[in-house]
Every structure is written in C-alpha cells, then in structure tokens.
Amino acid sequence: MTERRRERIDRGIKKRSEDVFALASWREMLYLAGPRLLPVALVLFLPPLLSPYWQKVMLSVGVFGLLAVSWDLLAQAGMISLGQALFFGMGAYGAGLLDRYLGMPPFLSLPIAAVLGGLVSTLLLLPVLRLRGIYFSMVTLILPLMLVRVIEATKIFGGTEGLSGLTPWPSVWVEMYLILGALLAALFGFRRMLAADYGLVLKGIRDNDRSVTSAGINIYVYKAQALFIAAAVGGFAGAFMTHVYLFVGMPVFALDYSILPIAAAVVGGPGGLAGATLGAAILVPLSEALRGFGGLRIVFYGVFLVVFIVAVPEGIFSFVRRKYHQFERWVEVD
C-alpha cells in the first residue's frame, strides 16, 4: 500500500535564518526585491491615475493603513488595542488645538501633534500597563468612549461642535504623498525595527513576559516605549486627517477608528505589519466601492469581513507569502 503525502519545500533561496543568505543571481534578487518594490511602485504611480474621489479614498487608505500598522506594532508587544481611536483622536485634537489656538502651520503641527498625542496617550495608559490580554484591550476600548463624554460634559475644545475651519494642506498632491510616504516609511521602518533585537524583546514580552523579566529587562519600560511609538503613529494619522477635513470634534474618537484597523490587520494577517497594510488597502476601497449598495453597504461590508476571515483564517498576506516562498508536491510514503 503506498500512500501519498503533501510535502512543502521552501522555494529558491533556502532561508536558514532570517537574514543569512547569499544572493546568487538577478532572479533571486528579483525574488526578494519584488514584493518590496511593488507597494513602492503602487504608491508612486497609482494616485495620478485616479479620479478625484478615489484619490480621497487613497488618503483614507493611508490613514487606516497607518492605524493598522500602529495596531500591529502594539500587538507585537502583546498589547491588543481595541482603541486606536484614542491615538487617532489625540493626534487630531492636538493638531486642531495647535492650529486654532497657536496658529501653527500644518507642517509644524503635524509632527508636534503626533508626538504630543503619543505622549498623552501613553500617560493615560501608563496605569494600566500591567493589565494583560483582554483586560488591557477593554481599557483601550473604553478610554476613547470616555473622552467623548468628558468633552461632552465639560464642553472643552469646542465641546460637541468641535473646531472647524482649520488650515488645509497646500495641495492635494502634498496630502497624498505625505500620507502614503508616511505609510511606507512606517511599514518598512517598523518591520526593520521588529526584526532587530529590540523587536525581539517586544515579541518576548508578548509571549512570555516572565522570561523577559528574568533577563533583567523592565518590561514596563519597553511596553511604554512600544505604546508611545504606536500612539505617535496613530496620532500622526489623526493630525493629518484634521488638516484634510479642516475639522476636529468628538467623532475622532469614533469606534470605526478602533475597529477598522483591527479588521484590516486580521484580514491581511497580523504579525508583520505588511499584512495590516494590505488589509487596509483592501478594506477601505472595498467599503467605498460598496457605497453603491446604499443602505446595504455596511451589511455587505460585514459579510465580506466574515467571508475573508473564514476563507483565509491566517490572513491574506500570510497566505500569499506562504505560497510565494514555498511549493508543495506529492511524495509517496511506503
């Protein structure tokens, strides 16, 4: 009786370790560089080809892509955030306030608001850093909801009406390449960071913080750092959006900003940031394309989410990567 078994073999360059290999031919070079060049090329050449409305959608892709990357980064350190809206909102309000009360130009208020938003978010979450798993997630879910109520109750920063009529970016192209450039920088930069020793420590905290502690590393310091980075990235997205829509108000803490990035990361495949980006690049345009269905839009959107997850549970990016790097063949077992 002979039976057959499916065997999986790594394609091309056998990767003994993540970063030790020799490039032997231009084909191998292309094999490795291809997946990295593709997004860069898309970002450079796609926007001018789009209609003004789809250009706007691209902006959203950039913003949600950044939020998803920031979410994934945080998840690498074991902090599953259900409240990206907190980071987004902090950055957005930061930019709004700097613009309204200090008259700062967008190019200045953007970075300052990102850093400021990151700081404030980190400070807010500092007391709950020792919470783990779903408990941490809950706090992040609740904080933005609470901030909305605080703004509502205390009527600060324009209260329920928010601040409108803020300064716009000089041109659509600035908008476009600023956010997409930031997305690419975040994607490649943070991928690099995660692959380095520092990133390893973050992942260590996620998998087994006890073991990291017993290496003499203060996990809270690292968690706080990861939190700050992620929050600043989210804040960047928020600050950017403020100057696009010239408005900031309570809805910047809306649930959508929390849920959509997670959906993007899950659909794309969490873990490597690239999945999160890909997820955003799929979900945001999808959601826009579905506008044609009118009231059914969100219904279809929900159904699509379910379908994606059920069909490719590991995430689209992980699936594609697996297929790209491996081939399968049948071998006989005696």
């Binding site: 039976e3 078994r5 065997e7 999986r8 073999i9 549970p313 590991e314 077992v333």
Partner: protein
Amino acid sequence: MTADLLRIENLMVFFENALAVNGLNLTVSEGELVGVIGPNSAGKTTLVNTISGLIIDMAIKEKRKGGERITVYGAVWFRGEEITRERPDRRVRRGIVLCRERHPVFPDSSVMENLKIAGYLRRRAEIRKTMDEVFGLFPVLKDYRRRKAGFLSGGEQQMLAIGMALVARPTLLLLDEPLLGLSPRMQESVMAAVIHLNEAAGITVLLCEQFARPVLPVIGRGYVVENGMLTMSGTGAELMDNPEVKAAYFGI
C-alpha cells in the same frame, strides 16, 4: 481481528516534513501493564496523542490556521475496530483515556471541580466513589480540594492530573510521563497506584517514561523507542537485563 485490546500498525506521523514516529508496530492486550521507554523526543508523546486521537484534533486546528502540517499514516485498532481517524471524544467513550504530560489541569477550577469535570462521561455516584479512591491515593489533594488547581505546586498538579484520569474510569489508561516532577516518595506511590489499578481494577495501562528506573521493574512488557522507531521490546525483566538498556536508562 485479534484479541489485542490495542494494536498499532506501521504508524507514521509527520510534523510538516519531519518524521516524529516512524513505522511503529505495537500491541497491548487486555489487562497488561505496558511501558514505552525512550529518551527525549523519541516520539512517546506523539504516540499516545495518536492513540488518544488528540493528534486528529491538532491536525484539524493546524489546518484551520493554514495548511496541512500534521499527517498520520498507518492504523490504530482498538478491540478489533480501526479508530485511526476517529475523533478523541469518541475514543474516550470507548474507554481510552490519556493523562497528558506536564500536569494538564484546569487552573481556574478547584481541585474538587477538576475531578468532577474529569467525570464528564460518568455518573455522579461513580464519580464520588472514584474520588474517594483518588483522595486515598493522594491525601494532599483532599486537604487542598477547595484550592484552585492553578495555584498548586508542580508535583501536586501532576497528582491531580493522574487522579483526574482515574475518575474517567478508563479501560485503557495512557500515562504520559506520570513521574515528571514528583518527589521520590511520590514516584513510588504513583507506581504503586498504577500497579494497583492494573491488578485490582483490571485497567490496562500504557505508560510512557524516559525516567525508566522506577518503571522497568514493575511493567509486564516494554518497548524501547528512539527517534520514532522501535529499537527493542520484551518483558520488563528482559529489558532490565539488556546491557544497552542498563547503560542508557540506569547509568550502569
């Protein structure tokens, strides 16, 4: 087919492309106490997981996560019926109960509740009776019956795990490294209990251990497994007399 209670034919288990169990043949008859001895990573755990069906469950879960990673070939027969592809819960109903390695207990439940949960397929009166037996075997557990299992020490959890397997009233009991982390005194009582179960209660036992010293003297028959392959088999005494076994497992 035969009167064997358990029969394994030409079993092969792959994890991805790595072979964990390679062409293993093994039989256990009713009422026997059989030992499977082997060093680390010999494939003992993989073997008992295959018998208990856990591997099927693992394979399904792996598949859901993306790709088929685990493949099983060969056949497992229980009382003349092939059960190779049967789900684990069906096998428990047949009486195959596994006590997994490294103290598998329900950490958030009290000791008492752990035992009750283990008796999922048993009637209430039966559970109560076996529970008393377990407490007789491991008196510590009785003292700690209201404590959460997760707070017990490593050895205490191991005792509880064995106790839980007993509550499930197996016909074939699979023990995976039951002596792990037990003090010498506890090791002795556990082995005594195993013999007692085997002889008095008539439970067939398949016991996997790499720490052979307390095991070999008491088993009826034994298999030695290395690198997923069978290297030796025979009665307990035969194995003990074998110079290779002596060198490898008794340090002589």
